[in-house]
């Protein structure tokens, strides 16, 4: 049985048994892959899974429209599973049924704890692509001035559409800081000052939480290499705190918690 067929069978079963009222998976739209929302066992035929399925579906589990449908099952490659685990750690998700897909295998129906266990067992060393690492190395090799120039040019393209935020499963604030105006934290103008503030603050809000799923960069209509920023912070967090988010549903927020053996060199 192919992965797609297995997913369809499990989805149909979950829906028929009432364990899920809605299955979120992938479907084909022409040569592209789009999210599919299946609520009827008869409708599972649209579900497919292949290596073109890149969108992080965990983002939908935060939507009230989706949550109000009842228990949800979601087709989850490792990137999605990691997002679910972070959402659970941040008390945004108490339960979800996971149709766990690996790059090479289908792991069947799991709960959140099962997904976390699977991640630890099989996908503990998910690494960023070599191209991305190379790009980061290039960036690291730059002088601070060159790097500032690089990001200034990139952020100049930002139209402040906030697609990065909308596509990110971990951007779930009820009222985003960029939309608060008492006080006005971030300039609303799509201009250097506000764009910089927006991008940097968003990146820092993700630091220690971002699972490098790539949804933000994929969503950016302006082609800003957001993953470079995320990866840089992610590496820093790993270096400073030895933490890799998305594996432990009971994890404490890295930036918001303290351990006695944290490096305190900066204090002196």
């Amino acid at each position: 049985m192919s992965t797609s067929e297995a997913i369809r069978a499990d989805a149909a079963r979950l829906l028929a048994e009432g364990r899920a009222k809605l299955v979120i998976g992938y479907r084909a739209r022409g040569p592209h892959r789009a999210p599919a929302f299946v609520s009827d066992p008869a409708g599972v035929d649209v579900l497919i899974y292949d290596n073109l399925c890149k969108q992080n579906l965990a983002v939908y589990l935060r939507k009230p429209e989706v949550r109000s449908r009842g228990p949800v099952a979601v087709v989850a490659p490792p990137a999605v599973m990691r997002s679910l685990v972070v959402l659970a750690a941040e008390s945004q998700l108490t339960e979800a049924t996971v149709l766990a897909v690996g790059p090479d295998a289908y792991h069947g129906v799991l709960d959140l704890a099962g997904a976390a266990a699977l991640l630890k067992e099989k996908y503990a060393d998910l690494a960023p692509s070599p191209e991305l690492l190379e790009a980061l190395a290039k960036l690291d090799a730059m002088s601070p001035q060159e790097r500032a120039r690089f990001w200034t040019d990139q952020f100049a393209k930002c139209t402040r559409c906030y697609a990065c935020r909308a596509a990110c499963p971990l951007c779930y604030c009820a009222r985003c800081i960029v939309e608060k105006n008492v006080p006005q934290w971030i300039s609303t103008a799509a201009a250097q000052h506000g764009n910089f503030a927006w991008q940097i603050i968003r990146a820092f809000h993700q630091a220690g939480r971002c699972t490098l799923c790539g949804a933000c960069e994929a969503a950016c209509p302006q082609g800003i290499p957001l993953m470079l920023l995320n990866l840089a912070l992610s590496e820093e967090v790993a270096k400073q705190f030895g933490e890799k988010p998305g594996y432990d549903p009971a994890a404490k927020p890295v930036i918001g918690s303290w351990k006695p053996d944290d490096d305190q060199g900066f204090v002196r």
Partner: protein, 337 residues
């Protein structure tokens, strides 16, 4: 017939820049080709459909619409001059050119928007007949064509097997541009290449009619599920023009800004008291489709969609308005039988 070798677009840009034009052209930027201000040395890539529309050069994503000097509790208005440089846009797609005509209507609907009109007046749009289209293109479904001339001041057309361009002026602005570019244009003959073929994917009239009767359709609810509520589609769309007005300032100066905005965002219509007339993504998706295919038709007599397909190409969830329209059309046909 004015002829330009296919690899001479940068020369054309250079001669126009020398003639005092700000030149905007499709330029490669990483994985994307984007409409951007051309600078000497930049290659021009007229092949792919640019990721952004030409809209931002006539309706900037952020613009100062009023300016005040502040002194303690008192303030005084200061001039906020409109920035409207003489601009030539090279290889603008016919769908974008047509979109500017739609925006002309919005920005002159009872109240005339000086900034838009000044920039429109100062801009010469050199359209490029599309030689190729992709599976998201649907201009022919919304009254356009790969070789349509609506909104264009001049037209570039591939010829002699993409080895040359034919440049043709369509009005005074186009003629002025041709005159300025005379140095790089040759007189001669060339055989125009056939334009791209874009299949008609749906009947827009049927969609307009359906929208009039289906405000409460369950279709909206399902669309609302998949839509992430990002502004990507609206910001990429050449016709979308919703904006926000925000004040910002320091102790000594305040500016009133007009920023792009989008009906896809939850806060767009939210009242200060908390009530939101478009409370969910379904309502917001409906607004977007209805606005383009129904309300705009009712108020301005035309569609607010020119079929460029950018919204679908850029959608993180790969939602496509053309797909929605086709489903509507098919559902309507099925219901009629």
């Amino acid at each position: 017939m004015k002829i330009l070798d296919a690899d001479k677009l940068p020369d054309l840009a250079a001669v126009l820049a020398a003639a005092g034009y700000r030149v905007v052209a499709p330029v490669r930027d990483g994985a994307q080709v984007r409409m951007a201000e051309w600078k000497p040395g930049l290659a021009i890539d007229a092949g792919p459909i640019p990721a952004n529309s030409v809209k931002e050069f006539l309706f900037p994503r952020c613009e100062v619409i009023a300016r005040y000097s502040l002194d303690g509790d008192s303030f005084a208005p200061q001039p906020a001059p409109v920035d409207a440089p003489k601009t030539a846009v090279l290889a603008v797609r016919p769908c974008d050119a047509a979109a500017m005509v739609a925006l002309d209507k919005v920005f002159n609907w009872e109240y005339r928007d000086d900034a838009w009109n000044a920039r429109r007046e100062a801009t010469t749009l050199v359209a490029l007949v599309c030689a190729a289209a992709d599976d998201e293109c649907f201009c022919t479904s919304v009254g356009g064509a790969p070789d349509a001339r609506l909104g264009a001041d001049a037209v570039l057309r591939c010829a002699d097997g993409a080895s040359k361009f034919i440049l043709e002026a369509l009005g005074e602005k186009g003629q002025a541009l041709l005159a300025a570019a005379a140095g790089v244009l040759a007189d001669g003959d060339a055989r125009p290449d056939p334009p791209a073929s874009v299949p008609v994917r749906f009947d827009s009239k049927a969609v307009t009619d359906w929208c009039g009767e289906n405000f409460e359709s369950p279709l909206w609810r399902d669309l609302g599920l998949a839509c992430l509520g990002c502004g990507s589609c609206a910001y990429a769309c050449p016709v979308c023009h919703c904006f926000d007005i925000q004040d910002e300032g320091t102790r000594s100066e305040a500016v009133r800004l007009r920023n792009w905005d989008t009906c896809g965002l939850a806060l767009f219509t939210q009242h200060s008291g908390g009530h939101n007339p478009r409370p969910d993504q379904a309502a917001r998706w409906r607004q977007r489709v209805m606005h383009k295919f129904r309300y705009f038709v009712e108020r301005f007599g035309g569609l607010a969609c020119t079929g460029c397909g950018r919204c679908a190409r850029l959608c993180p969830a790969r939602l496509a308005i053309s797909q929605v329209c086709r489903e509507i059309d098919e559902a309507r046909k099925a219901a009629a039988k």
